[in-house]
């Protein structure tokens, strides 16, 4: 079936829905999602959305800008960061006007809480910048944006899985999607297409990401001969629930929780003597790995304990002389944990049978967030080379995009900000583009490539390989060799293994030969996307011979600004990867060593 729209938005998380609200005000817009919109992963974000409202204490967007650039280990583009942090304030108010139920201060204003890396730039102390709605800020953003889309009668195609981007003569012409319920292919002929498809944490074994986060958008981009940017930078959050990867917020450590190894030692004393368990995410993830490697995991296994039991927390408060603002000794009670960390307590009770008030929680680093992705400019327009040449009509926003506002390491609360600011900019610029440009014709048989991919999978009758085995081996390989710690030999081993897996992927079995709701075929297609993304991640990780933010090379442990203060671009052509570079936009802040 053929459809005609001005703007087609792929993905219905925060970025996609915000873009949809803005695009639909000006032009004929459709939103396609392989899920129901409210199932999108934006909904799982807990902590807050960064914006220097200054509702509790002095703050300003300039400090937010600097904190973000420093947190990025100076790889973020400073012009883009400035836009995000300055537009943050108004976009938070805009969400509030849409109905977002933020928590409130005594004065009835939006409540804010401190978060890692966000500081008063004068005193260097944490500043309350994260605007929050209980511990479900992402859920509230997703719900509010979806509500507004219903109010504005945005057209949705739910459970339409996009498989291809149509390009002709270098200009965007639309997308091809399969309607999951029927198996029918649909061609969406459009002037503009936005990819807001989210991340690809499922490349790794232990991840906080949803099953659906398989990097469909960036894989399509690679297959259409376009580059991805900074793919070697993937954030591992230090405290995921052991084996499951479900996130346990930094707030646990904010309340005084400590990490302990198998000997019961609070090991962050050694790695970050000043701020200890509140060091940045990359530092703590590396420390946990080093403990495990030294045989100091719990029972010799690959996890440590996150301990927020009042007796433990109070012991360290006393040891370190931690005081309340009124100079009384700081203490925590069981009731504090129940009221301040209710969702965390629910997760650990449900999944581990662990009551955080009475027992320590088993945790390990969990693959969390893609700093890299589809390269864009500050209007979310996709750029396709080192000179920032814009591809007409093609946009990307949210985690899938690399503007780059996060550089080598993202600060907490900046992802919820990113999706709103750049989702809005995408929607606005799509309207402008549609008004200035005509709809160009489709190429012949625009659905041919998508059909060929699906039929090729469906017809694999006698394969001996199970997709699940290949996925599992890929995830183990990436966890072991292209995770928190990386070095040349290991990454090379991973690349060899991924090549083997790609070959075996050609021989997988598909049990379901049907058309309707064939998730057997679609999961296999998603695995193909994951394998491509794993490969370009490994190749760019091998190429970048330095350590910066989330990318840590044991054989090159130092940051090297002379050689590597630049973005990577990676293409995949005829099964071979090619690497190029793009300069970092540095406006006001000269790179300095990152010390907290």
């Amino acid at each position: 079936m053929y459809h005609k729209y001005d703007a087609v938005i792929v993905g219905a998380g925060g970025a996609g829905l915000m873009a949809a609200l803005y695009a639909s005000r000006g032009v004929k817009t459709a939103v396609l999602s392989k899920l129901y919109p409210t199932r999108s992963h934006t909904g799982t974000a807990q902590g807050g959305m960064g914006a220097a409202l200054g509702n509790h204490e002095e703050d300003n967007p300039e400090w937010h800008t600097f904190d973000t650039i420093k947190g990025s280990d100076y790889l973020a583009d400073q012009d883009a960061v400035k836009i995000m942090c300055y537009e943050a304030v108004d976009i938070v108010y805009e969400l509030e006007h849409m109905g977002l139920p933020f928590n409130r201060t005594e004065e009835g204003r939006i409540a804010q809480r401190p978060f890692g890396g966000h500081t008063n730039n004068v005193t260097k102390r944490p500043v309350r910048r994260a605007c929050y709605a209980a511990d479900r800020t992402g859920h509230m953003i997703l719900q509010t944006l979806y509500q507004q889309c219903i109010k504005n009668q945005v057209t949705f195609f739910d459970e339409f899985h996009v498989l291809d981007l149509i390009i002709e003569d270098g200009v965007t012409r639309g997308v091809v999607a399969v309607e999951m319920a029927t198996g029918e292919l649909h061609v969406f002929h459009a002037k503009t297409v936005l990819f807001a498809t989210g991340g690809w944490g499922k490349v790794w074994r232990v991840t906080s990401n949803a099953h659906s986060l398989t990097g469909d958008g960036p894989a399509i981009v690679l297959r259409r001969g376009l580059p991805l940017e900074d793919m070697e930078f993937f954030q591992f959050h230090p405290t995921g629930i052991y084996k499951m990867g479900i996130l346990i917020t930094e707030g646990v450590r904010g309340e005084g929780g400590v990490l302990a190894n198998g000997e019961g030692e609070r090991f962050m004393d050694r790695y970050a003597p000043t701020i200890k368990d509140l060091a940045s995410r990359d530092v703590i993830s590396r420390a946990i790995y080093l403990e495990v490697r030294a045989g100091k995991g719990i029972d010799g296994k690959d996890y440590v304990h996150l301990d927020v039991r009042p007796e433990t927390v109070n012991k360290y408060f006393e040891r370190d002389g931690i005081k309340n603002p009124d100079d009384t000794p700081r203490r925590i009670t069981a009731a504090d944990i129940e009221t301040k960390l209710p969702d965390i307590a629910d997760f650990t009770r449900t999944y581990l049978g662990v009551d955080p008030v009475a027992q320590p929680m088993p945790v390990q680093p969990t693959a969390h967030y893609a700093m890299g992705g589809i390269p864009t400019d500050v209007w979310a327009r996709v750029v396709i080379d080192g000179n920032n040449t814009v591809m007409p009509g093609f946009y990307a926003a949210g985690e899938v995009a690399c503007v780059s506002v996060h550089g080598a390491n993202r600060l907490g609360t900046n992802s919820l900000l990113d999706i709103n600011v750049f989702g809005k900019r995408a929607g606005m610029d799509m309207v402008r583009y549609c008004q200035e440009n005509d709809l160009l014709p489709l190429p012949k048989e625009p659905e041919a490539f998508a059909r060929e991919q699906l039929e090729s999978l469906r017809s694999r009758q006698n394969g001996r390989e199970r997709a699940a085995d290949i996925r599992s081996e890929m995830q183990d390989t990436m966890m072991d060799y292209v995770g928190v710690f990386r070095e040349e030999g290991g990454i090379e081993e991973a690349i060899d293994k991924l090549k083997e897996l790609q070959e075996r992927y050609e021989r997988i079995t598909i049990d379901d030969k049907g058309r309707q709701f064939n998730t057997d075929v679609l999961e296999a297609w998603e695995l193909g996307a994951l394998l491509d993304l794993a490969e370009v991640t490994a190749v760019t990780a091998l190429n970048r011979a330095e350590s910066r933010g989330g990318h840590y090379r044991e054989d090159y442990p130092k940051r090297d600004d002379e050689k590597w203060l630049r973005h990577s671009l990676v293409w995949r052509k005829d099964g071979q990867t090619e690497i190029g570079y793009k300069s970092v936009a540095i406006t006001e802040y000269e790179p300095k060593e990152r010390v907290y």
Binding site: L35, Y36, T38, R39, S40, H41, G43, T44, L53, V92, Y93, E96, H97, M98, G99, P101, F102, N103, R104, T105, E106, E107, G108, R109, I110, A133, A134, R136, H139, M140, Q143, Q147, Q148, I150, K151, A181, A210, H211, S212, M244, I246, F347, T350, Y351, L352, G353, R466, A467, A468, T509, I510, D511, D512, G514, R515, Q516, F517, N518, T519, D520
Partner: protein, 235 residues
């Protein structure tokens, strides 16, 4: 590592090959702390790829995998094997047309949701900053903001089974979230919708919804609050 042998009985239906549904029986090994979702994945990934279900976040937030597990509406990602037992029965949620296996047509449910005007209505021009709301005003509707639209409540409701036109608990919860938001100006209109014949008065206070809610929302109480508000306003 302690491993349990588990028998799964799953109600299967493939619209392309089956005239009516049938029971698929599977034996798997699982750890007691595995989720029922893990068990279903094991079947799908290693025994029978045709098994079809929805899922995404796998930790009880996205609301994709509501299903009937041992006769009760649950999210498959929030039930552990050790709590479900060695013999587990899994069926699609009731009252919505089955598309395939555990996948049901959500559209009737979403249509009810959309019909209660589930969005903030306030036609006054907003201030340059946030609209003010006190902590107490915000707390008034906190519980119903937790809804993830999984449909576990509505499809556990006998009144909904009997009459699919009944808006159902989830739609009422979503309406409640705005009716009691101090910033909203359309509660009268929303209450009018809920006062109609397929609105709140079809609720028989059976409490299935509250028992089914994976977010621990006090659904029955929210419905009662809506009913009370109607009476107060003489609707």
């Amino acid at each position: 590592m302690f491993v349990m042998k588990v028998q799964l009985r799953i109600r299967r239906f493939n619209p392309e090959t089956d005239k009516k549904s049938w029971w698929g029986k599977y034996e798997i090994e699982a750890e007691p702390t595995d989720r029922v979702l893990d068990a279903l994945h094991y079947v799908k990934w290693y025994q029978d790829g045709t098994l079809t279900l929805r899922r995404s976040c796998a930790h009880g937030i996205c609301g994709s995998d509501a299903m009937r597990i041992n006769g009760r509406n649950r999210l498959a990602c929030k039930v552990l094997i050790k709590d479900a037992g060695r013999k587990i029965t899994v069926e699609p949620i009731l009252g919505l047309p089955v598309i395939k296996d555990l996948v049901v047509d959500m559209e009737p449910f979403m249509a009810h949701y959309r019909s209660v005007m589930p969005y903030l209505i306030n036609d006054q021009p907003p201030p340059g900053t946030e609209r003010l709301q006190s902590i107490e005003e915000r707390e008034r509707f906190d519980d119903t903001t937790k809804c993830i639209l999984c449909a576990a409540c509505t499809t556990s409701c006998p009144s909904f089974w009997v009459k699919g036109e009944y808006l159902g608990p989830a739609a009422i919860v979503q309406a409640h979230r705005f009716i009691f938001d101090s910033r909203d100006q359309a509660s009268q209109e929303r209450l009018g919708i809920l006062a109609a014949s397929d609105g709140v008065w079809r609720c028989r206070t059976i409490y299935n919804c509250t028992e089914a809610c994976p977010r621990d929302i006090q659904v029955t109480q929210a419905i009662a609050e809506v009913k009370k508000e109607m009476l107060l306003r003489g609707l």
